[in-house]
Symmetry: C2
Subunit: 201 residues, 2 copies
């Protein structure tokens, strides 16, 4: 005898496909879901399909938007000369939440990884070069993760713009705020030492 009716099993399977949701959480969420009011669930169903249909990459930067051009590229308050280069649009939300950055973005939609056969033409690099060429005083901030792929991509972008007047920086590596030195992994500690900032000399 099956434990759950198949209609419930479908919902559990759906939740299990989401990141960080295991068997037990999926069951709990599915049981909570079916107790929600019917009209609410109807609007949820509509919203899910709507989001999928309406949200597309921005024609300029590749960020998620419900328009041709995203809010950030479209805003006159943003410094168009500064482009923060990121792996995917989730990073945009993270950096926007921090709330300090006033430039624009460029979503690569991946990182170079020769081992996985992800090459220059597989990620959004050509459009970055075009964008930079149209700017008077371009500055790139590379906000890519500190993995082999992230560093390969960083080096490659540095090389593309080698002989052009483009200011390029990368995010600093180091201790996460509040982290205990004792518990830090060696790679981070190494980088934090290497990137150490002189505060008096």
């Amino acid at each position: 005898m099956k434990l759950y009716p198949p209609e419930l099993e479908h919902i559990i399977d759906f939740f299990k496909k989401l990141p960080g949701i295991g068997e037990k959480s999926a069951e709990r969420l599915a049981l909570a879901l079916i107790e929600m009011p019917e009209d609410f669930l109807e609007s949820v169903s509509v919203n899910i399909l709507n989001a999928k249909n309406v949200l597309k990459p921005c024609k300029i930067c590749g960020h998620l938007t419900n328009n041709e051009i995203c809010n950030i590229c479209d805003s006159s308050y943003r410094d168009k000369n500064v482009i923060c280069v990121i792996e995917d649009y989730k990073s945009v939300f993270a950096i926007e939440k921090a709330g300090k950055y006033q430039g624009t973005y460029h979503v690569l939609n991946g990182l170079l990884s020769p081992i996985d056969d992800i090459n220059v033409e597989d990620i959004n690099l050509k459009s970055l070069v075009e964008r930079v060429e149209n700017l008077e005083n371009p500055e790139l901030i590379l906000a890519l993760k500190s993995s082999l792929e992230g560093e390969t991509t960083t080096l490659y972008i540095k090389k593309i713009f080698e002989n052009k007047k483009v200011k390029i920086s990368r995010l600093s590596y180091g201790l996460p705020m509040g982290a205990e030195i004792d518990y830090l992994d060696m790679a981070t500690l190494d980088r934090a030492l290497e990137d150490r900032k002189i505060i008096s000399e």
Copy 2:
């Protein structure tokens, strides 16, 4: 400027309504959801509404079912004389998972709580009395939580059947498996002492 497009915001709000999902998880889940293939999301939408429409309480025990009568009440392998009385159908899934119980269930859909104005007529007690009256050799196992409401309900059920030939037991209270005695709350320790089992005398 809003951080998320409204279409995404709707999905985040939906996830935030589910138990144990906070702001950050809801964002992560919504972003994962919109990256799923469109035909999968279409079937999810259909399944959500279908589950809500099809799943109803069993006419006998109140457990969730896609039929008039649930699998358990309908099964000839289940002992109809034994009824496990529970607060809601989630407990059925929990007990069925344990896989030992061979009787049937009765879902009260709540517990008596005079303080919240939940009285005898507000929970599924009348149908329990009717079920018991139709049995030759009825046995009730009260599997209600060890709270004020659970114990009030346990006492009330005991009282209803006082002068009738009904065997009634409740789940034992005590140490959860694997729990460290040192970290146990006093109430559980108290109950574990009170309900102690003689193993030799």
